[in-house]
Symmetry: C2
Subunit: 330 residues, 2 copies
């Protein structure tokens, strides 16, 4: 079916070795021989088989990316930069949606191991788990692994995390400086990243609102969940006048809910999101958001992979500063 190096060799009356040399632009081929082979190569649209090449070269030129759900914007941005950078260096990306079920993560790590990926990127703090650590040890013990917004203590794992803890503490401080009396925190599912944010909130409260009790809620990911949780929070704590949501998307749904409840933002209730996504700027009112530097994290991840792949040293763990982008909602 496909044209191989042998087919070309036969037509050119040379050996496969010679064709291989031409295909790979190696020296030690006579000028006319080379020309003849080049012509044939072009004529038959010869394309080398990467699997065969990878087998002998012991390199797949593929890297794996694991993400729970590719539809989550924040991580998509990261994947974009990583794919961009790596494909420019001849790598292809195998991107797997793993979902939130740990058993499935192991399967995905195995599957990527079968394909002999040369590096692995884990998008999101959620992968900061013992199950992953163990699976990596078993199936990918020797390739570089990078976690975006997380960390795992293993010899071949490199972590890049945004300083969300201090960032959220600063958000509380911002509410304080705006004269708010009672801030609350609402997050979706518990991930290491969200726990950091929560800790940051608690630190902020104890620092700026020592007399105010902790008001913390957790909700699912759906529109209706977030909406309902926001309503419940304000019914149980009508004194709340500032809400920090664990992600911009939640905050935007919160804005929607507040509007439906007739609350003015930021006068009655100030709102802060996290991620500083594109939508923060578009929303009405525009959304004050903690930029957790996912962009920087991804760029750095891409660079680090390339560095590791070429044998250079890279920090095992990097903490990247976050910063608040103020807009209309505070």
């Amino acid at each position: 079916m496909q044209v191989t190096i042998y087919d070309i060799a036969k037509m050119a009356n040379v050996s496969a070795s010679t064709v291989s040399r031409v295909v790979n632009g190696k020296p030690n081929v006579g000028a006319k021989t080379r020309a003849k082979i080049m012509k044939l190569l072009a004529e038959y649209n010869y394309i080398p088989n990467e699997a065969a090449r990878g087998l002998v070269m012991q390199s797949s030129h593929m890297i794996g990316i694991l993400i729970t759900d590719i539809r989550t914007t924040q991580h998509t941005d990261g994947i974009f930069y990583i794919e961009q950078e790596l494909s420019a260096h001849g790598y292809s990306c195998l991107i797997h949606n793993t979902g939130r079920d740990e058993a499935n993560w192991v399967k995905n790590i195995q599957s990527l191991s079968q394909r002999k990926i040369e590096a692995l990127v884990l998008m999101g703090s959620i992968y900061q788990s013992d199950v992953v650590k163990e699976a990596l040890q078993l199936y990918l013990p020797s390739i570089p692994v990078i976690i975006c917004n997380g960390y795992l203590n293993a010899p071949n794992v490199y972590g890049l995390v945004g300083d969300e803890l201090n960032g959220v503490t600063d958000c509380v401080k911002l509410l304080y400086s705006k004269g708010k009396k009672c801030p609350a925190f609402l997050m979706n599912q518990s991930t290491p990243s969200n726990e950091q944010k929560k800790l940051g909130f608690e630190t902020g409260i104890s620092r700026y609102y020592p007399e105010v009790p902790l008001i913390e809620y957790e909700s699912g990911n759906s529109f209706s969940d977030i909406n309902a949780t926001t309503v419940a929070m304000l019914e149980q704590h009508p004194e709340v006048d500032g809400i920090i949501y664990s992600e911009d998307v939640l905050a935007m749904i919160g804005l929607r809910t507040l509007a439906d409840m007739g609350k003015r933002v930021p006068e009655d209730v100030a709102v802060i999101g996290i991620n500083n996504s594109d939508y923060a700027r578009i929303s009405i009112p525009s959304l004050t958001s903690l930029d957790n530097m996912l962009y920087d994290i991804s760029m750095t991840a891409a660079r680090n992979i390339l560095a590791l792949l070429s044998g250079q040293r890279v920090s095992k763990k990097m903490l990247i500063c976050t910063e608040i982008v103020e807009r209309q909602s505070t």
Copy 2:
């Protein structure tokens, strides 16, 4: 470095053939032999090398996905469903961001051809181009290719398109039924899909507003572009009281712009988006949007690939009906 079938064979005092049979769960292996090998396999965390396997089996179990920019939500949704469905059947997805430069598309098609992908998915009508057609003919003439929201007349290409033309005509009709006097159309870059929408708009105008001139604008993709174009449109045509944007994201930026201009939506200006994305529901006011059934298209694409891969017949071109979801902005 890695454990091979030969290593296991040596330890078990059997041949590689036998190990292979055990690995693949094939019959004709003695019970104790099988048990012994199984034990070894588990003990050494043996994982077969897919490249080697693929080489002899002539199958990579990989499919390729081309997308201009993985950050565009509409297509991310599609990729999610496709990856989901295919990975459940043992396939991995090579996802490449191609950008909007045609020369780069050819490179990506070549690169996927090298990896012997077994099917290709093109996300977006933008790939409905002669350059792609030619590249496919040269480098991937025999594997199934599916275009989401587009079509190409070639033997191995299958198209799935939403009926955006009639959908947009219906949007014009909706504005008419709401008593609007002067609808306008604003799109970002010209793609086959956007041209269909434009045509639909023109059909709608000629049908419901025979006396109103065509007001059509084109803008870039950036926030500021869309904002500026909306402002320009309303300055040049203050009579506009309904705007159909070619995508929800544009419409949301439009809402933002209108709010800044002090226009009430929908009283002064009604707004309609296209895609019926999650954000249409969240935005304030919530956005009326034409659902172009990208979800259905992706689901169908995934199913069709699987069908084609198992040798079944699939329609060359399918048109899927679109429908308007009315919300507050009209």
